[in-house]
Symmetry: C2
Subunit: 433 residues, 2 copies
């Protein structure tokens, strides 16, 4: 690129109608001139060739992505991650903000993904390592999306659960049980105090535990539990399947008795979720398979908060995400960023419930609550409820007992002396930092 | 895990009915005992809790994934990539093959992805770094998929192009042109010798160049080019969009004159592609946005050949993929592995056409042909045709002239003396290694 070419891909905010642009924060490591690398990054994701041969024209003013901000620091030690085919040259670690004109692709999730995480981003000359750190949308773009139908407040209304976390549990054994004994586990967990008993993300519509029969068994168990406890309960059925079955499985599951639906967001595809959202009569809850494949590393891929935002945009009412603690290998600041991405203002798009999960139990609830600093979260043990020594009813009770202690400002361990389920949980699952 | 627990997740092939299992090759780096890490890897992706509390049962024999093979070498220098939340302990670099029972999820792409690239794989205790290197399916599993409708041979038949590569070109400027001048560029490239003129992966159904009008203009131009050259031509229209528009856009584009369709595989989702495949009347061609986000690094994520196999399984007739040369930052062995994944036997699933691309031109064709070692590939320049100094007709001619030389065993540079388009291409785009 010539100096003039490079200059055509830089701009200042004051020169742009910001309603027309999505803003993207990238971190990247480049070999060679950081300004040229940033210009390539903008060019390749938009007007890679901005004029016809022999025609005096320039598509950049309207269609080019523009670099708004660039900071570069030398990395004398070279690239932070080995890349077999990295270019050679002096390495810089850079942060760049790019304004990408959304009129190039419109309010469609696949086209958005193609623009901000496509060939242009990952194959920009000179940039072998890059991570999309964050994404910001103008309200005019967001207005074309439906977003969550119920959202955080709608879920609270359905459960009549205010001023406390929402208590989920993953029914375990996760794989192998037929509908009736599986439903019995859910029933026991509701009696013990869970709001939402859920299918594991691996358990879908499968011959040895068909969705219809499972939803019927769990639906009946749920209604019994609601009568016995006097509290609304949710059976969260996993309808993850081929996209052309989603609508059918929604109808099958809801008619049989499921009153919320789990979808593995990335395996199904965010666009399939958006389609389902337009049809859905019940809350949609996201699970996170596959996302770690591109979000674990600080130096490459995509920050997971970007996908939290996209899941909210696609219409999920709650997003289950890797939570705190060493088991989930996710830095605390990243979990917190994803929680904020669910809750913070997003134009006309409703907040959704963040559900940070991973090896939780009555022993971890207090730590999670303090790290989040509010009650606006879902708590989703698996073995912490269903592997509890006293069974799922005792496991669920232990969670509610831990919450009683926290809500009353009593030390959880002290509360355990009078609450055998909590005591057993603390003994079985230990105290986590 | 106890020693007995660990042993329950190891098996030998002779003890398994291999028709019931998908085989997964992983490389990973773990802290602590590699055997326990491998057992966790198998457990977490299948029967994470294999019995109910108080019930004498074991779901592992039928439902557990099993480690078939494990090799571990110490890495005294620690993990090869920094991971903020990596566990501590002695590090080993490992290779493991795992047999995963597909009866846990069935022949559904989202459920397959959830199993082999889900929470169980990326959050196995002790394993912060892992890469799915390859995947093998039993024929009984493959038989439930449609695969490519036309495939490599069907594409050749449609184009009457045998014993040579298929010549694609990405119409450029990629973004900003309205239908008529865009069609004129395609027309010129067909006259010059392209088989397939295609939309850029970023150009979809957009108000300033609506798919219907574009397909009509390109369709008419295509038919004129077919009459003038006496050769079949393809206009490859990009219908990447929300999944609930794919069928409609297929019909709109095909009726208007597109005779093959481009879909950005990962942004749309493989399951959306499979849905489209069941409806499609024309070949479906994959483009690769997003895949690099999880496949670039040797030490983490997914080897891109896995996604090549999955794109073929989903029903693509051709797969555009990052090709040779420094621009695409993809090791040669990886490009070759992806090409083989298109062509090698895959039970009842037809071969598809591999299209390795990236900054190609008449100057790179010979190198690409020699690296592949056969004519079974597509060649897909962008600027190499549409940025050619003599315009797209000259650009396309330069590609065909380069192929004439290669096919006749003449040095390409020698052939250029009598062929001005080829000469201009070599001068403009240089000779690449």
């Amino acid at each position: 690129m010539t100096k003039d070419d490079i200059a055509g891909f830089f701009a200042v905010r004051a020169d742009l109608n910001l309603d027309d642009y999505i803003e993207l924060d990238f971190s990247f490591e480049c070999a060679g001139d950081p300004h040229e690398a940033a210009a390539h990054l903008a060019s390749e994701q938009s007007t890679a060739q901005w004029r016809r041969v022999g025609v005096d024209e320039d598509f950049r003013p309207r269609f080019a992505a523009k670099v708004l901000d660039l900071r570069a620091e030398p990395r004398p030690s070279g690239f932070s991650i080995p890349v077999e085919c990295a270019v050679r040259g002096e390495v810089h670690a850079c942060r760049a903000t790019i304004a990408h004109p959304h009129g190039n692709f419109g309010p469609r999730l696949p086209n958005l993904l193609s623009a901000v995480l496509g060939e242009g981003v990952f194959f920009a000359p000179g940039i072998p390592l890059i991570r999309l750190e964050d994404i910001r949308f103008p309200a005019s773009y967001l207005a074309a999306f439906e977003g969550p139908q119920f959202g955080l407040n709608g879920l609270r209304e359905r459960l009549k659960a205010f001023d406390r976390p929402i208590f989920f549990g993953v029914i375990k054994p996760n794989i192998g049980l037929p509908p009736e004994p599986f439903a019995e586990l859910g029933y026991q967990s509701w009696l013990g105090g869970l709001d939402i008993a859920k299918d594991d993300e691996m358990l879908a519509d499968i011959p040895w535990c068909p969705l219809k029969a499972r939803a019927a068994a769990l639906g009946a168990a749920r209604r019994r539990a609601e009568q016995e406890t006097g509290e609304p309960k949710i059976y969260l059925a996993n309808i993850t399947d081929e996209v052309d079955r989603l609508i059918e499985l929604h109808d099958v599951a809801v008619e049989a008795g499921a009153n919320a639906l789990l979808v593995n967001a990335m395996p199904v595809g965010l666009s399939g979720v958006r389609m389902l959202r337009r049809h859905a009569e019940v809350p949609l809850i996201a699970h996170f398979p596959f996302i770690a494949a591109f979000s674990r590393l600080a130096g490459y891929g995509v920050h997971s908060r970007v996908f939290t935002r996209l899941q909210r945009l696609a219409g999920f009412d709650a997003v289950i995400m890797p939570g705190f603690g060493p088991r989930m290998m996710t830095p605390e600041h990243e979990v917190v960023a994803c929680i904020h991405a669910c809750l913070e203002p997003m134009g006309p798009i409703k907040p959704c419930l963040p559900v940070p999960g991973g090896s939780d139990s009555a022993a971890t609830l207090e730590g999670v609550f303090h790290k989040i600093g509010s009650t606006d979260f879902g708590f989703v043990p698996g073995r912490g409820v269903f592997g509890h020594p006293m069974g799922p009813r005792g496991g669920a009770a232990s969670i509610r007992q831990a919450w009683q202690a926290i809500a009353r400002g009593i030390p959880v361990e002290a509360h355990a002396t009078a609450n055998p389920e909590l005591k057993a949980a603390l003994e079985a699952f230990g105290k986590r930092g």
